[in-house]
Structures are given as structure tokens and as C-alpha cells.
Symmetry: C2
């Protein structure tokens, strides 16, 4: 699927609404997609998530994975039962569905842009953000690290239980994501920060460091920086404007992007792409937020993160102009939002769809 | 060393100033210690850290470890060479000194209190903190997890390199720290939050969950909560007042406490104790911040975190009244600080020492 042709008029988009607010926000994402590229996508919806698992015991049937593999892209809402729901064992959906797709489709670039849109309230003090442009992207490795599911339990349930988790990092896996991140930094403001914890995780950290420095030598115009993950969280709260591109491993990327979403105005705005840059498999685009069962069904979820994820999808498919229109329409919409007036999920979708 | 007797008049305190601002802030900590417990401690200083390593190639000689084991407590400043200093391999001091002591002396409770002192500026917006009391403590496991140094490298330096890190978690290790945390919650506001990532790290997460719930059953008056580490960083930035006691593993604890320090007014105020609650080995008290080579030697480092760490030391040694006087003096001092007037390291130490 390498070399998309922007003139191709019909592409297949697989749609996984999921649970909770997932289907609600995805509906608005599709509304905007339709507005910006009328008739260009044919959609196939897949019923997956906690509800399906409860009904059928199935998480992701092989036949569905095979169908998804034939799509040009995947739009994913969110999955997950209510937090207190003990009938759903932890990890079933995460590992059986989200991570299964990320690994099966070799989504090694987990791309998570963050910016503070003018006018959007953030939890940070004015002194931290005033007059500064906060606009960065985290390139999170998506197929290795502690997410490989490599670990186990000995003497389960006893006072002598031992549980291990193994972080697996390969030169192959680290190099390709570091290269992607440097290429992005070169196209952006030319600054890249490696986030790790190499003073403690010396084996994995040494590998990340070595490859980061090797690739850096090929990009003399890109300024490099290194932060331990703990220090990175400090700067995320006290000086997020310092970041341009962050490259990091799967777990540190998970952590830093939720924090990034929070400090830049809430994960209601945080989009993400699970990308296989070569196009060997379809890439998957999803809001960073979860299924938020507490507000599901009320039509009050913010669909912006999903709409921005549709923008990332279009960009990935070579439709940069269309992606730019979404970004611009969102920018205009969010800066008009005011704390006083709450719009419904579909009102926000309508407004952005009519503005693109 | 169990059962300290508060009437004992002389205790041995081992002092490791370290590098950079370490010795500067430790000097003020000792000034306050002397003011609040005149003549009660005899001090032995140890020259350890980057400077010593460069001079002698030694990190922590066995003979020093043996001497430290005989102390009643350890006050630690900070160690570390300048960030750009490539002569010092990453991890040498961290693993050879700090972690070596934490593991050798079985410091399984890494205690890190955080509070927003009235009047202290934080990077958070008023809307997040106004009218709320932010006062919580993180109980970080200190002897397991990804910090065990269990990992390795295959085909080092080649394009086929594989690096692993193994997180080791035992029922023994998890239960003792979870028990400590519940006991603290029962003595505080009766709320405890487990932070982990059990939807991905199902083996370790399952163990933490099981033990957390088992111990919770013994504390019907303590309210329990669970957050994934990524969500925990969001709440730390948007609603830190929700926390009372957080219990978590070694790495997640490292990350969340740096962020906690940042959002509550800076790691210049963040104290910590590496505690062996049974007193089988001496406990070690240290500011959360590092050696800050960039401001070393200028007499401008804030010694407050070290002074508060002395308070934790006294509390651990059964001198609760004296510890309370330090806490009170710091509270009074920090709320009088104003952005305009900068005091030197020793001026702050003097002020607090004369107020205790
Ligand atoms: C749901 C979970 C498996 C996932 C992750 O940890 O990657 C989520 O937190 C995310 O960031 O997309
Ligand atoms: C210096 C380092 C080994 C240490 C840690 O990771 O525990 C530090 O960050 C801390 O939090 O005390």
C-alpha cells in the first residue's frame, strides 16, 4: 500500500466506534471527513469492544483482523467498560484489541501532536504559557518496550508470587522510529528531545542513546536534547514550549502524551495516529482519550480529538491540503469556545464540518 | 536498630554531601538539625560522588558501605557530573551509589510528601488550586521493579542489538510497601490511590492489584482508588488535591514524584526518605532534586528540600516533636518568600534554623 495516489477517489476506511463515547465522537469525525472529502471514502463499520465481548466473548476475531488488513486506514473511537465493572478482566481489550492491532499492523510510529490553541484554557498558570507557542509532537515507539507482553507469573496468588515484565528493545525497532522522529524534526523547528531513563535502565537506555546519537550525526541542523522521563514531566508542567519533537519508548510515550494532553488543554483535544509509515499495513487513528462511560450517551463528549485524528489520517494518506483544512477549522472553532456556552457533541461536529 | 529511644542523646549521622549543590544544601540541613537537636547527633562525612569517582575511580567502597550500615541515619545531598560531561558513563553513580544504598539497606519505602504551601507559586493555574488543600504523600516501592538492574544486551553495538530490562515484582515486596501505605492513609485523611498500568503490564499489575485489594479489606475505613500511571499524570496537573496517599512501584513512583514536586512549587521543596521501616538498616534522607551543576558554587540553591528531609529523618528516629518544629518553621519561611527578594542558600538556612 506504499505510494498512495491522492487522485484515487475511493478508499476503504474501517471504522471501530467501540464503547462509551467512542461511537459518538467517531460519528462527528466521519461527518467532518465527509465534508472535506465528499464521496472519497467507503466505510465499513466493525462492532468491537467491551459490549461485543460481553455479548459474544470475542475480542478481535481473526476474520476481522484479516478484513482490517485490507482497509486503507482505520478510524478508532475508544473501548472499555465502566471502571468499576469487574466482569471485564483488565487488559482483555487493551491487549486483545488495541495493542493487537498496533502490533499486527506494525504501527511503530505512534504520533501524538500537542499544541496550545489560542484561547483554550489549560491547567497551567499564565506565567508558564503567556507569550509562548506550545506546539510539539511526540513520536512514541509503538511495537516494543514493556508493551510486548513478555512477562509472567510464578506461584500465582501465593505469598511467594513473582511477577515479571520484560521490556524488549531492538536496534531495528529503535532505529526506524528515531529516524522517523529526526525527519519530522528537520521538517519542523529542528529540535528533538530523547526521553528515557538511561541512568537506571542502562541496557535499553544505552541502545536508545547510541542510535539517537548515530542518527543525530546525519542531521547536523537538528538540535538534540536528552531528558530523563522524570525530568521530562517537570518540564511538561513548567515549560512545555521547550519541546518540538520528542522521541521515546512505548511506555514513556504513553505517560508523557497523557500529561501533554492535560497541560495543553485536555485530552478532549489530543489526537493520535498509529502509523506504519511504509504503508505495508493500514494505519489507525484514534483520540488519546478513553471511552468515558460516565458521560456516554449524553451527547456531551468533545469530538475534537477524533476530528483532529481524521486530519492525521488524511495527512498520512497524502491528502495534506484536506488535512490542513481540518486543522484550520478546528483552530478557528476552539478559539471561539468559551467556558460559558457548552455545545453538544454533534453541534461541535456540525460547526467544524461546515467550516472545512 | 528497631525501637529507637528518643532519650538517647547521641546518634550517628552519616553525611554524604555529594556533588554540585549537594554539599551546599546539606550544610544548611545540618545547621537546622543542630538548631533543633543541639548536640544530639555526631556526624561523619563521606566523600562520594562524581568528583571522587573522577579522582579515584571509586564509587562506593565496601568499607564505606560497612561504615554506613553502622550509622543511625544517612543524610544525602545529590550526586552527578554536569549533563554534558561524557567522561562519566551514565548510571555509574546512580546504580553504584544511590541505588546500591537503597538496595543494600532494604529501603523499601521511598517516602515522598508533597504539599502546596500557602503563598508558594506553582505552575498551575489558580482555577486548579484555589481554595483547595494539596497535601499528599507518595509511597514509592524502593527495592524492586525495573530498578533491580535485571536486564542485558545481546549483540551490543550492532544493527541486531537487543536490549532488555526486567521488572521484578514479588508478593513479599509489594505487600510490605502496600501495608505501609495503608497504615499511613489510616493515619492521614483515609484515602489511598494505587497507581500502576495493569491493563498493559498484566503480570505485575495483577500482583499489585491483588495485594492492594487484600490489604484494603483490612482497612474498611480507608477509601481506595486506582489510576493508570498515564491518567495519574493528568490528575496531578489538573486536580492534585484529590490525592492523599499514593502507592506505586519504583519507576512509576520516580516519575509521579518529580511531577508532584513540579506542580506543588518546584523540586526545590521536595523532600524524600528512603526508609527501612523496621530499622534493620539505617534509612537515608535526601532532596528529590539533583546536583544542579549549572548553579553549583554560587550559593543560590534552595536548601528547603534538604531541610525538610532532615525533618523526615527526625520523624523516622522517633523525634516527632522536633520534626514538627522543622515543618512549621519551613511553612512560615516559605509563605513569607516573595518573587522579588532572592535569599542565598545560607540565608534561607539561617532563617529556618533560627525559627525552629
Ligand atoms: C488503552 C491503552 C492500552 C493505551 C496505551 O497504553 O497505549 C492508551 O493508554 C493509549 O495511550 O493509547
Ligand atoms: C538518580 C536516580 C537513580 C533517582 C531514581 O530514579 O530513583 C532519582 O531520579 C530519584 O528520584 O531519586
Amino acid at each position: 500500500r506504499a505510494g498512495y495516489d491522492a487522485r484515487v477517489t475511493s478508499r476503504n476506511l474501517a471504522v471501530i466506534g467501540g464503547d462509551g463515547i467512542g461511537p459518538e465522537v467517531v460519528a462527528e469525525g466521519l461527518k467532518v471527513l465527509q465534508a472535506v472529502t465528499p464521496g472519497s471514502f467507503s466505510l465499513t463499520s466493525y462492532d468491537l469492544g467491551a459490549e461485543r465481548w460481553k455479548r459474544t466473548g470475542e475480542v478481535l476475531p481473526d476474520s476481522v483482523l484479516t478484513e482490517l488488513a485490507a482497509a486503507d486506514g482505520i478510524l478508532f473511537g475508544a473501548v472499555g467498560a465502566a471502571p468499576g465493572d469487574k466482569t471485564m478482566p483488565s487488559g482483555i481489550l487493551e491487549r486483545g484489541l488495541i495493542l493487537k492491532i498496533r502490533f499486527a499492523f506494525d504501527h511503530y510510529v505512534n504520533l501524538r501532536p500537542s499544541r496550545i490553541y489560542p484561547g483554550v484554557p489549560t491547567p497551567l498558570a499564565d506565567s508558564v504559557t503567556a507569550g509562548k507557542e506550545v506546539d510539539f509532537v511526540v513520536v512514541r515507539e509503538g511495537t516494543e518496550g514493556l508493551y510486548v507482553g513478555n512477562g509472567g507469573v510464578v506461584r500465582a496468588g501465593t505469598p511467594a508470587e513473582i511477577a515479571t515484565e520484560v521490556s524488549v528493545n531492538t536496534a531495528y525497532g529503535v532505529e526506524r522510529v528515531v529516524r522517523d522522529a529526526f525527519a519530522r524534526a528537520a521538517r519542523r523547528r529542528g529540535k528533538i528531545t530523547l526521553v528515557h531513563k538511561h541512568n537506571v535502565l542502562v541496557h535499553a537506555g544505552g541502545l536508545w542513546n547510541r542510535i539517537f546519537e548515530t542518527v543525530a550525526a546525519e542531521y547536523p541542523d537538528v538540535t538534540t536534547d536528552y531528558l530523563h522521563i522524570d525530568a521530562a514531566t517537570i518540564f511538561m508542567a513548567t515549560d512545555p514550549a521547550r519541546f518540538d519533537v520528542i522521541v521515546t519508548d512505548n511506555l514513556f510515550g504513553d505517560i508523557i502524551t497523557d500529561l501533554a494532553g492535560a497541560v495543553t488543554g485536555g485530552i478532549g483535544l489530543a489526537a493520535s495516529g498509529n502509523i506504519n509509515p511504509e504503508g505495508a499495513f493500514p494505519s489507525m487513528f484514534e483520540p488519546v482519550h478513553g471511552s468515558a462511560p460516565d458521560i456516554a450517551g449524553q451527547g456531551i463528549a468533545d469530538p475534537t480529538a477524533t476530528i483532529l485524528s481524521v486530519g492525521l489520517l488524511l495527512d498520512h494518506l497524502g491528502l495534506a491540503e484536506e488535512a490542513g483544512r481540518i486543522e484550520k477549522a478546528v483552530l478557528a472553532d476552539v478559539s471561539r469556545r468559551s467556558a460559558g456556552t457548552k455545545r453538544s457533541t454533534s453541534e461541535i461536529g456540525d460547526a467544524i464540518a461546515s467550516a472545512v
